[in-house]
C-alpha cells in the first residue's frame, strides 16, 4: 500500500483550521480534475486534428460575426471554467482571434445545459433566473468580447510561437494511431502546464473559505450598488463551479435583490480566483489583468443599468 488513507500526520498535532483548509483544497481539486482532464484531452484533439486552415474556413472573417459566432459556439459547448482554459489556448494557437477565444471562454461555462438545469432547480423550478442568467450573460459576454476586440489584436499567449504552428500540421502521412498518441502526449503537456495554476488557484480559494468571513462581506451589502458588488466579490473569492453556484446563490435570495444574485451567477462562471490563476498559465499577465477589469466593469455596469431600468 502506498499510503494509509491519509492518517500518518494524525499522530502529530495539526491545527484544525489547517486540516479544514486542506480538506477544502483537495476537494476543489477532486471536483475539478475530471473536467480539467477532459479539457486537456479535447485540447490535445484540437492540437492534432484541427489545422489553421480549418479555423480560417470555419470562423467568419468579419470581426462582429466572429464574436457572435464564438459566443454562440461557447453557449452550445458544455464546458466548465476549468476545462475550457486549455481548449481556448489551443484554439488561439490555431489562429482563432483573441476576441473570439474570449467570447467562447466566457459563454462556455456560463451557458450550458447542466448550468441551466441546476439554476432552474435551485430556484425552485422557476425559469426566470435561469433564462435571465442565460440571456443577460450572453449579451454581457458579447460586449466583453467586443471591447477586447477593440484593444487587442495579437493572441497574447505567453508562449506564442510554440503552439499552433506545429510540425505535424498537414503531415497527412501520419497514421491515426500515431495521431492518437500525439493527442495524449499533448494532453500530458497541457496537464502539467495548467495543473500547477489550477492547484495554486484551489489553494487560495480554500484559504479564503477557511479564514475569510463571508458574514463580514454580507453585512457590507446594503442597497443595489453595494449588494451587487458584494455578490460579485463573493463569486470571485468562492470560485465555485458554475454547476454548483446556483445553490449558493439561492441562499442569498432573501438577503439581496434578484439582480445582485444574478450578477453572482453571471460573474462567477466568467471570472474567479481559480480561473484567473489558470488564465495566467495561458495569457500574459498584463492581458489577464486588463481582461479582469473589463469583465468586472461590464458585468457590474450592466447589472446596475438593468436594475435602474427595471
Amino acid at each position: 500500500m502506498l499510503y494509509s488513507g491519509g492518517t500518518i500526520l494524525s499522530i502529530i498535532e495539526v491545527p484544525a483550521a489547517i486540516l479544514q483548509m486542506n480538506t477544502i483544497f483537495i476537494s476543489i481539486l477532486i471536483e475539478a480534475l475530471p473536467f480539467v482532464l477532459i479539457g486537456v484531452f479535447i485540447a490535445g484533439i484540437i492540437q492534432i486534428f484541427v489545422t489553421e486552415s480549418h479555423v480560417k474556413r470555419w470562423l467568419p472573417k468579419n470581426r462582429y460575426l466572429a464574436i457572435v459566432s464564438s459566443c454562440f459556439i461557447g453557449a452550445c459547448f458544455p464546458a466548465c471554467e476549468c476545462g475550457i482554459v486549455p481548449i481556448v489556448r489551443r484554439l488561439l494557437g490555431k489562429g482563432v482571434p483573441i476576441y473570439a477565444g474570449i467570447g467562447f471562454m466566457l459563454t462556455g461555462p456560463l451557458i450550458n445545459p447542466m448550468v441551466i438545469l441546476s439554476t432552474y432547480m435551485a430556484f425552485g423550478n422557476n425559469l426566470n433566473m435561469a433564462i435571465s442568467r442565460m440571456i443577460i450573460g450572453f449579451v454581457l459576454a458579447l460586449m466583453i468580447a467586443f471591447i477586447v476586440s477593440c484593444f487587442f489584436r495579437s493572441n497574447h499567449l505567453k508562449i506564442p510561437d510554440h503552439f499552433g504552428q506545429e510540425h505535424h500540421d498537414g503531415h497527412g502521412h501520419h497514421s491515426l494511431m500515431h495521431k492518437l498518441k500525439d493527442t495524449v502526449m499533448h494532453a500530458i503537456d497541457e496537464f502539467f502546464d495548467i495543473g500547477k495554476f489550477l492547484i495554486v488557484g484551489a489553494l487560495i480559494a480554500a484559504f479564503v473559505q477557511t479564514f475569510l468571513s463571508a458574514e463580514v462581506l454580507i453585512e457590507l451589502g446594503e442597497g443595489t450598488a453595494s449588494s451587487t458588488a458584494v455578490m460579485m466579490a463573493l463569486a470571485y473569492l468562492l470560485s465555485l463551479c458554475s454547476e454548483a453556484d446556483a445553490f449558493i446563490g439561492v441562499s442569498f435570495q432573501h438577503l439581496f435583490p434578484p439582480a445582485a444574485i444574478l450578477s453572482f451567477l453571471i460573474y462567477g462562471p466568467m471570472l474567479d480566483l481559480k480561473n484567473t490563476m489558470m488564465m495566467l498559465s495561458v495569457f500574459k499577465a498584463r492581458f489577464v489583468f486588463v481582461l479582469l477589469i473589463v469583465i468586472t466593469v461590464v458585468v457590474y455596469g450592466g447589472m446596475i443599468i438593468i436594475q435602474t431600468l427595471a
Binding site: E31, I159, M185, F247, S251, H254
Partner: protein, 291 residues
C-alpha cells in the same frame, strides 16, 4: 530530460493511485457529493491513460520529436517550483487526514445570516401572499421535486411532502432533511407545535443565551467547497455543557422564535443526547443511494 519524463510518469501514476485509493477507502465521500463519484473515477482512468502514454514515451524515446518545445520550460528553479506545486496536493492528500467541515467554517459562511434569511424570505413571501391573496393560490416558492427525484420518483416525493403538514411528528432523515427544512421554513406557522426529530452539530454565535445553540448540517452540492448551511435554532436547559461541534440527536417541539427581528422556526428540545459523528455527516440536495 529523460529524468523529467520519468518524473512525469511517476506523478501521473501517483495521481491515479491517489484517486483510486480515495474511492476504495470511501474518503472521497468526505470531499464530494456522491453524484459526482463516477466522474471522479473517470478522472482516475484518464490519469492511467496518461501514465501509460508517458511510459511509452520513455521507453520509445525517439518515437517522436515533439518534446523540444518544452525544454526550456521545466529546467532550473522554475521547473522545480512547477513540479513542487503539482506534487503539493498529492503530498497533502496522502499525509493529512481529511476533516469534516466544522463550526468554524459555519461561522465563516455566516450561519445565522443564512438561517435568518430563510426566515426573512418567508415573511416576505407571506406578505406577498396576503397582498395578492386572490391571485396566488399555490406557495410562491414551492420546494422542487426534481431536485430529489434522482432515486425517488415524483409520486413518492409528492406523497411524502403532502403528508408532511398532517404528520404529528416530523423526522428529518438524510433523504428528506433539505426538503422538509425548506417546507418548514416556508410556512413555520403550519408546523409550530409539531414534534421534530433531527441530528446535527452544535454551533454557537455571539449573542446567544446560555440555553441557545444551532443544530446545523452542511449541504454539499458538488464538493465541500460549495457547502451551504441548514439548521435550526434550539433551546435547551443547560445547553452550555454541549461544546461546539458535538454531534447530537434531539427531539423537541417546533416553535416560532423572534431572533433579532426575524421570525425563525426553532426547536424547544425535550430530549437530546450526544452521538458520534455520523458516517455521512453531509446532506445532499439530490437524494440518492450511497454505496
Amino acid at each position: 530530460m529523460r529524468l523529467q519524463q520519468v518524473f512525469r510518469a511517476v506523478i501521473l501514476f501517483v495521481f491515479a493511485v491517489f484517486l483510486i485509493q480515495l474511492h476504495r477507502s470511501g474518503d472521497v465521500f468526505k470531499l464530494i457529493n456522491p453524484a459526482y463519484v463516477t466522474l471522479s473515477k473517470i478522472a482516475g482512468i484518464l490519469f492511467l491513460i496518461l501514465f501509460v502514454a508517458q511510459l511509452y514515451q520513455i521507453f520509445v524515446p525517439n518515437s517522436h520529436h515533439y518534446n523540444h518545445q518544452h525544454h526550456h520550460e521545466a529546467s532550473g528553479f522554475k521547473g522545480f517550483i512547477s513540479y513542487f506545486l503539482i506534487i503539493l496536493p498529492l503530498f497533502i492528500g496522502i499525509i493529512m487526514p481529511f476533516s469534516t467541515l466544522d463550526a468554524s467554517i459555519a461561522q465563516k459562511k455566516g450561519m445565522m445570516v443564512s438561517l435568518e434569511s430563510s426566515g426573512a424570505g418567508q415573511a416576505q413571501a407571506l406578505q406577498q401572499q396576503s397582498q395578492k391573496n386572490s391571485t396566488i393560490v399555490s406557495d410562491p416558492n414551492p420546494p422542487d421535486p426534481d431536485l430529489y427525484s434522482n432515486k425517488m420518483n415524483k409520486q413518492q416525493y409528492d406523497s411524502l411532502m403532502d403528508q408532511l403538514p398532517n404528520l404529528p411528528s416530523v423526522e428529518l432523515n438524510e433523504q428528506m432533511y433539505t426538503a422538509y427544512y425548506q417546507a418548514i421554513h416556508n410556512n413555520p406557522e403550519l408546523y409550530a407545535g409539531k414534534e421534530i426529530k433531527l441530528t446535527g452539530f452544535v454551533y454557537r454565535e455571539e449573542g446567544f443565551s446560555t440555553n441557545q445553540f444551532v443544530l446545523g448540517r452542511f449541504v454539499i452540492t458538488h464538493c465541500v467547497a460549495d457547502a451551504s448551511i441548514v439548521g435550526f435554532l434550539a433551546n435547551l436547559e443547560g445547553a452550555e455543557k454541549f461544546v461546539e461541534d458535538t454531534w447530537m440527536e434531539v427531539t423537541g417541539a417546533i416553535y416560532l422564535e423572534n431572533y433579532q427581528g426575524n421570525i425563525l422556526p426553532a426547536i424547544k428540545i425535550t430530549d437530546g443526547h450526544t452521538i458520534t459523528e455520523p458516517q455521512q455527516p453531509y446532506l445532499y440536495p439530490v437524494s440518492m443511494k450511497i454505496r
